[in-house]
């Protein structure tokens, strides 16, 4: 399903949010509203106690979600409950320890049963994936999505491209996810460099995309972009959740 999205669409907007935030039952509301508002891809974060690859905004939302009582069983049942109501690719993002504690195969099976299409597991290293997890992922027809950064060497990017089968998550700058300013020359030259590598997989740019200008810029160099912290900030605001979501997405996607 992710492949289809990339085949059919341009300027893909992927939104990250934390399951169980702001309230434990908002998970499904948010997914449905995001789809309705015109988002192309959704990343559902499973809150983790020690999210060392996340910035302060996502970190805070995770710890609030955990306080709300969210857990993996609940997330899966929430996802299953809207299985038939949605038709948008879903990616689950979590840390390796969560998958191990749940039982790796059980975890992947549940993902499949919940209509998950892909996984982002920031602390699952490439060769660990290849040696121990690739077969299982394939068994359950799940894509693993890898990250690359300006520091990633060309050979390694090629290796990652080789084992990827949906898209590559291109970190825009050396920074934890979080809302920063616009593109700088370093970022642009990095994007150009990757573009020129003509990878077999499409790329989405993430980390630091916060507004329409960022998004449009990102789309010049890739198939689209991922927004996380800025979206979390938006849904943390007062006001109706659905309205907030709609406003946020329309602002990025449609306003001109």
């Amino acid at each position: 399903m992710i492949k289809k999205t990339f085949r059919d669409k341009k300027n893909i907007l992927s939104i990250y949010f934390t399951a169980g935030y702001p309230n434990i039952n908002d998970t499904t509301t948010i997914i449905k509203q995001l789809e309705k508002s015109g988002v192309d891809l959704i990343e559902v974060g499973i809150p983790f106690s020690d999210p060392l690859a996340d910035g302060p905004t996502i970190q805070k939302s995770s710890s609030q979600a955990l306080k709300n009582g969210i857990n993996l069983d609940i997330v899966f049942s929430q996802l299953k409950s809207i299985k038939n109501e949605t038709n948008i690719p879903l990616i689950l993002m979590g840390y390796l320890n969560q998958m191990i504690a749940f039982g790796e195969e059980r975890f992947l099976k549940e993902c499949r049963n919940s209509n998950i299409d892909g996984l982002i597991i920031p602390d699952l290293p490439v060769d660990e994936y290849q040696t121990n997890y690739k077969c299982l992922f394939e068994k359950y027809n799940l894509s693993n999505i890898f990250l690359i950064s300006p520091q990633t060497k060309p050979e390694r990017i090629k290796e990652i491209d080789e084992i990827s089968d949906s898209f590559i998550y291109m970190v825009s700058s050396n920074s934890i996810t979080g809302a920063k300013g616009s593109l700088n020359t370093n970022q642009i030259s990095y994007f150009e460099r990757i573009k020129n590598m003509k990878l077999k997989n499409p790329t989405l740019i993430g980390f630091g995309i916060s507004n329409k200008q960022n998004f449009d810029n990102a789309c010049k160099y890739s198939q689209g972009a991922i927004i996380g912290s800025a979206f979390i900030n938006k849904i943390s605001e007062e006001g109706d959740l659905k309205n907030n979501i709609n406003e946020f997405v329309r602002h990025i996607k449609i306003d001109n």
């Binding site: 060392l52 969560q98 504690a101 602390d123 290293p125 690359i148 050396n174």
Partner: protein, 391 residues
């Protein structure tokens, strides 16, 4: 070799490098270079020079006469408390700062629990003129105030970690986060045998000076380079790893690792990872950790900031698995009692961490002619505020 790390960074089932791709270049650079650097003459010359003249090594192996009488055996204290900055931590920071320099790094970041690693890092950064930022849990900043002041005076920036239990594990999270943000010129100077490969092995190799000295000292002082028993406290496990290092293959040397059991192993206020933990991944390595069924890390508790950690170095998970080391634990109360006992019998104030190692003397049986080495990993000056509550 049974207890040493393999090429991929594993100790049996444990270890590895479970890190975000963003850190891959940094960790890979370190993996590819650390051994070679450490084994180089250039490194060894400078490392040994600094250990001798700056740190004040060798640290004495002190025969504690009155403590020995108390337990009717022969107790030696390995005096890491006499090191510059007051704990074993500096053995490691001296080594890593040389490695960082060799790799051309300009900024150093570190986490700290008790503040000893932070101080030791700040000191070597000053010594080498490098910028230094230390992450420390808010709770630890409050309970180890003297070390915070020392870091500041040494020119380091101390940044509070305000998430989770606001202790060591959260400081590690913040440090890793900061590293991800500044992967290029920044070196992450980890303070224990934790984190992704090669840190656990690198830190153990640098702390191994403890057991290297012990062999020579015991040979001179007792005629036998092997003691019967070595007792060390374990937070991440660097002082224990260093003092076990050269004895791992001598299976007749009993190795005792002491964890902090807070208000009791099963009180839910504990940091005794081996007792209540299960295998999982924390801070970049596969190890044993305190977690719930969803893999959420359980917030640990110990009166001692340096032991208040929900994980354990992967080598200890392996030593436990292989039954090569015995794992004991001491509660807050037992540690405090042991600290006062040492103060009154020997005129030495141990760090709260080290007090946990001392506390198990009461729980063990010794032969009269046995040689027992307790690692006095640090001095108690940083913990006076806590100790004074019990006077």
């Amino acid at each position: 070799m049974k207890y040493k790390v393999n090429k991929k960074g594993f100790y049996g089932k444990f270890g590895g490098a479970y890190i975000p791709e963003l850190l891959y270049p940094n960790v890979e650079e370190l993996q590819n270079n650390y051994k070679q650097i450490i084994e180089s003459d250039e490194f060894q010359t400078e490392y040994k020079k600094l250990l001798k003249y700056y740190v004040g090594r060798p640290s004495p192996l002190y025969y504690a006469e009155r403590l020995s009488k108390q337990y009717n055996t022969n107790i030696y204290l390995k005096r890491e408390d006499l090191n510059h900055t007051g704990a074993h931590k500096v053995n490691n920071t001296i080594g890593q700062i040389l490695i960082a320099q060799k790799l051309g790094k300009k900024r150093i970041i570190a986490e700290t629990g008790a503040g000893q690693h932070g101080v030791a890092t700040a000191a070597v950064c000053a010594l080498k003129g490098l910028e230094c930022t230390v992450y420390m849990g808010e709770v630890d900043i409050a309970r180890q105030a003297p070390n915070v002041a020392r870091m500041k005076m040494l020119g380091a920036k101390v940044i509070p970690a305000t998430s989770g239990s606001k202790t060591l594990k959260d400081a590690v999270n913040e440090a890793i986060r900061a590293w991800i943000n500044n992967p290029e010129d920044t070196y992450y100077l980890i303070g224990s045998v934790v984190g992704p490969h090669p840190y656990p092995d690198m830190v153990a190799k640098l702390q191994a000076v403890i057991s290297k000295e012990m062999k020579l000292q015991l040979k001179t002082q007792t005629g036998n380079e092997n003691p019967d028993t070595i007792i060390a406290c374990v937070g991440g496990g660097s002082n224990a790893a260093g003092s076990f290092y050269h004895y791992l293959k001598d299976e007749n040397v009993k190795l005792v690792a002491v964890e902090a059991s807070g208000e009791g192993v099963f009180s839910n206020k504990t940091a005794a990872t081996i007792q209540v933990g299960t295998p999982g991944i924390l801070h970049g390595s596969k190890t044993i950790l305190m977690q719930d069924k969803y893999g959420q890390v359980i917030e640990p508790y110990s009166i001692s900031a340096g032991l208040d950690y929900p994980g354990i170095g992967p080598i200890f998970a392996h030593l436990f698995d292989q039954k090569r080391a015995e794992f004991l634990n001491a509660t807050d109360k037992e540690a405090i009692e042991a600290a006062f006992e040492l103060a009154k019998l020997e005129g030495i104030l141990p760090a709260l961490e080290s007090s946990h190692a001392l506390a198990v003397l009461k729980k063990m049986k010794f032969k009269q002619d046995e040689t027992v080495v307790v690692i006095l990993s640090g001095r108690g000056d940083k913990d006076l505020q806590t100790y004074m509550k019990f006077i």
